[in-house]
């Protein structure tokens, strides 16, 4: 059992649909050339008011949810911009997993590439977890077990699935680039054939820039 086979912690409810990556990580936090400091930017306009003071009514600012590790979210979570900063910010804040009925497609790939676990459950099951997580007296502790492929909170248990590839990526933390580079010879051979058959696709950027430079 490792940090990447069992995730357990306080769940926080974020029931809005289409919570886009602009809101998850606003523009002013995208000006870096590294990944530092993105915990501050997470859900910034929801967490902080116009003076930079925490909004006491926002769920993550309330004492009961101070140690949130799992977000329970609405459909199409992470839609919009491709900014991977949204994933980095969630992780830097301490979020280990997000449970939702569906996710934005680019966000999903970004999360998998960073070992942020995304669990898709039917809306009715998300609703149960949402209610459990929303209890300010005792927000649910949510347990996601990748050995049994189940999500549990109190009396609630539900199975979930994900592709074998993504599960493997999450559990083992694979070097995807390194694995793809083992195909370097096949890539070079492909490129040779591809450009012989479609010479107009060879080095389009360099060729065009040389032409524009006169």
């Amino acid at each position: 059992m490792s940090a990447f086979t069992l995730i357990e912690g306080i769940g926080a409810p974020l029931p809005l649909p289409n919570l886009d990556t602009d809101q998850i990580m606003p523009k002013q936090f995208l000006r870096g050339i590294d990944k530092a400091g993105l915990d501050r930017g997470l859900l910034y306009d929801m967490r902080f008011d116009e003076h930079g003071e925490p909004r006491p009514d926002f769920v993550l600012n309330q004492p009961a949810w101070r140690d949130t590790r799992v977000l329970v979210a609405g459909p199409n979570f992470g839609c919009g911009s491709s900014r991977e900063h949204a994933v980095w910010g969630l992780q830097q804040y301490g979020i280990r997993a997000v449970i939702a009925p569906s996710f934005g497609e680019i966000f999903y790939s970004n999360a998998m590439n960073n070992r942020l676990l995304l669990v898709m459950l039917p809306q009715a099951q998300v609703d149960v977890l949402m209610r459990a997580a929303a209890n300010p007296a005792a927000p649910a502790s949510i347990r996601i077990d990748l050995d049994t492929m189940t999500v549990a909170a109190g009396d609630f248990t539900a199975p979930f699935t994900m592709s074998a590839r993504h599960l493997d990526m999450f559990r083992r933390g694979l070097d995807i680039i390194g694995m793809s580079l083992t195909h370097a010879d096949a890539i070079a051979a492909f490129a040779g054939r591809h450009h012989a058959a479609n010479p107009w696709l060879r080095d389009v950027a360099a060729t065009t820039m040389a032409r524009l430079a006169g």
């Binding site: 995208l30 000006r31 050339i33 960073n114 592709s163 195909h183 096949a186 070079a188």
Partner: protein, 471 residues
């Protein structure tokens, strides 16, 4: 054997290795980068001592953070943004990657400059760390946005580990009525199928309405298909797209062009190709569309009333609509027509091309920007700006009281210093009306360039068709 869709043909012709039932190693013909989603990818390469095997198939652009003040040379005042631009130049120099830098006369928005110089060609796979890469479907090229980890992967391997999408066909018949554009069509479609209605799909657009669209209009359509959650958009190449490309791609000589035409003629879905989902729309009923909320699917015809949250399909949609109305400052049942705007923004990778500026000029001619309205025009590229100046569009807009600015992403996402003040309402030709997108507490109404121009001269959201009648 059943026929294949255009999407499947594009994937199969770029598959280096099949990894498993759902994933392939997909070859990228062109990889485009900007200053803000690439730095950590280059840092990752350096960390592992990895090289870029195909620098001639990479292109970098400074577009998201760049100020658009009409000054020469342009200076990026914000220190962090200036560092991003310098960092991009350093990375490009290090790896031999072509760059449109800050003061390049042809600099512009990545999705505007690559098509206008003939770099996007039918049958390509084009990747970019930007969700609006779906734009290139207009050329029968498979384009889609990727994250920074994937940018690093493409730099190092010229491929992507690619999860296959499902096939959707959206057939649009009829002709768009006067006063409407492909922007109205895509807002109409998204409002019907929702912001996740095409999630998981690559959408192929077909039908007489699509065939009738110009390349600029097709780019607008494919650009915003991502706002329905799509993983890509496609329009099969035809005389319109092939002509557009060959006019601009000067490196394709006559004999190569003949071979290219033959290859591109194969880029269509077979008659018996299976689609996982099919939808049909009637272009002739489309009206000018305007968003009323904070998601691109919250759009209505300009003549319609703002919906009541109580009529929403479920509790989540109701709560979402209530929150959106509260943010945007509108009451259920109220009308968008006549709603005052303080700002107008014309530009972006959705609507910052020459055809868009011509449409604006046609509406504005003989009018002035209304008192109390600040109206900005940010051309999509240096070439668009120059063309508009040559056609007299710039002079007309300046005379009318518009700001005529330098190219960039600008207030589409407000990463530079162009942004709304809290509470300001903006008629915008961009693609996202998300909370805070154009500035904290700013209120965005998405619409076509002609509609935004009408808002600029009347000071309020106005049906551009009625404006025509009164003149």
């Amino acid at each position: 054997m059943a026929g294949r869709t255009l999407y499947r043909k594009l994937v199969e012709s770029h598959t280096v290795v099949t990894l498993d039932a759902d994933n392939v190693l997909l070859y990228a013909d062109l990889h485009i980068m900007n200053e803000y989603t690439s730095p950590q990818a280059f840092a990752g390469l350096a960390e592992h001592g990895r090289k870029v095997p195909a620098p001639g198939q990479q292109l970098a652009v400074v577009d998201h953070i760049i100020p658009t003040h009409a000054e020469s040379p342009r200076v990026i005042q914000d220190p962090a943004s200036a560092l991003q631009a310098r960092n991009l130049k350093r990375n490009c120099d290090l790896h031999g990657i072509p760059l449109f830098d800050t003061n390049d006369p042809l600099q512009g928005i990545e999705h505007v400059i690559t098509p206008e110089h003939g770099m996007i060609r039918p049958g390509m796979v084009v990747l970019c760390g930007d969700s609006h890469t779906t734009t290139y479907g207009a050329f029968g090229a498979l384009g889609f946005g990727i994250g920074t980890s994937e940018v690093e992967h493409v730099l190092a391997t010229q491929t992507l580990v690619y999860r296959l999408a499902r096939d959707m066909r959206i057939r649009v018949e009829g002709l768009l009525p006067p006063g409407t554009t492909s922007k109205d069509l895509i807002l109409h479609i998204i409002s019907r199928i929702s912001a996740q209605g095409a999630r998981g799909y690559v959408v192929e657009f077909t039908g007489s309405a699509i065939r009738a669209l110009s390349m600029e209009a097709r780019m607008t359509l494919c650009n915003m298909t991502v706002e329905a959650g799509a993983r890509g958009a496609l329009i099969a190449p035809d005389a319109t797209s092939v002509g557009y490309v060959l006019e601009r791609a000067a490196d394709i000589d006559a004999s190569m062009a003949q071979a290219a035409r033959t290859a591109w003629a194969q880029l269509a879905s077979d008659a018996d190709a299976p689609f996982d989902a099919e939808l049909v729309f009637d272009a002739s009923v489309v009206e000018p569309y305007v968003t009323w909320g904070t998601s691109p699917d919250q759009a209505i015809p300009v003549s319609a009333a703002v919906p009541h949250p109580a009529d929403a399909a479920d509790a989540i949609a109701r709560a979402s609509a209530e929150r959106a109305l509260d943010y945007i400052g509108l009451a259920p049942g109220s009308h968008l027509q006549g709603l005052s705007v303080q700002r107008v923004f014309i530009g972006s990778c959705t609507n910052g091309r020459i055809e868009d500026l011509r449409a604006v000029a046609d509406v504005v001619r003989g009018h002035k920007v209304a008192a109390g309205v600040r109206a900005m025009v940010v051309p999509g590229s240096g070439a668009v700006r120059e063309q508009a100046e040559a056609e007299g569009i710039a002079a007309l807009l300046l005379e009318a009281g518009f700001e005529w600015r330098k190219p960039g992403c600008s207030m589409c996402l407000a990463m530079n210093d162009d942004m709304l003040a809290p509470g300001e309402r903006c008629a915008s030709t961009t693609n996202r009306n998300f909370e805070g997108r154009q500035g904290r507490a700013g209120r965005t109404h998405l619409m076509s360039p002609a509609m935004a121009a009408a808002a600029a001269i009347t000071g309020c959201i106005t049906d551009v068709r009625q404006l025509g009648q009164s003149r």
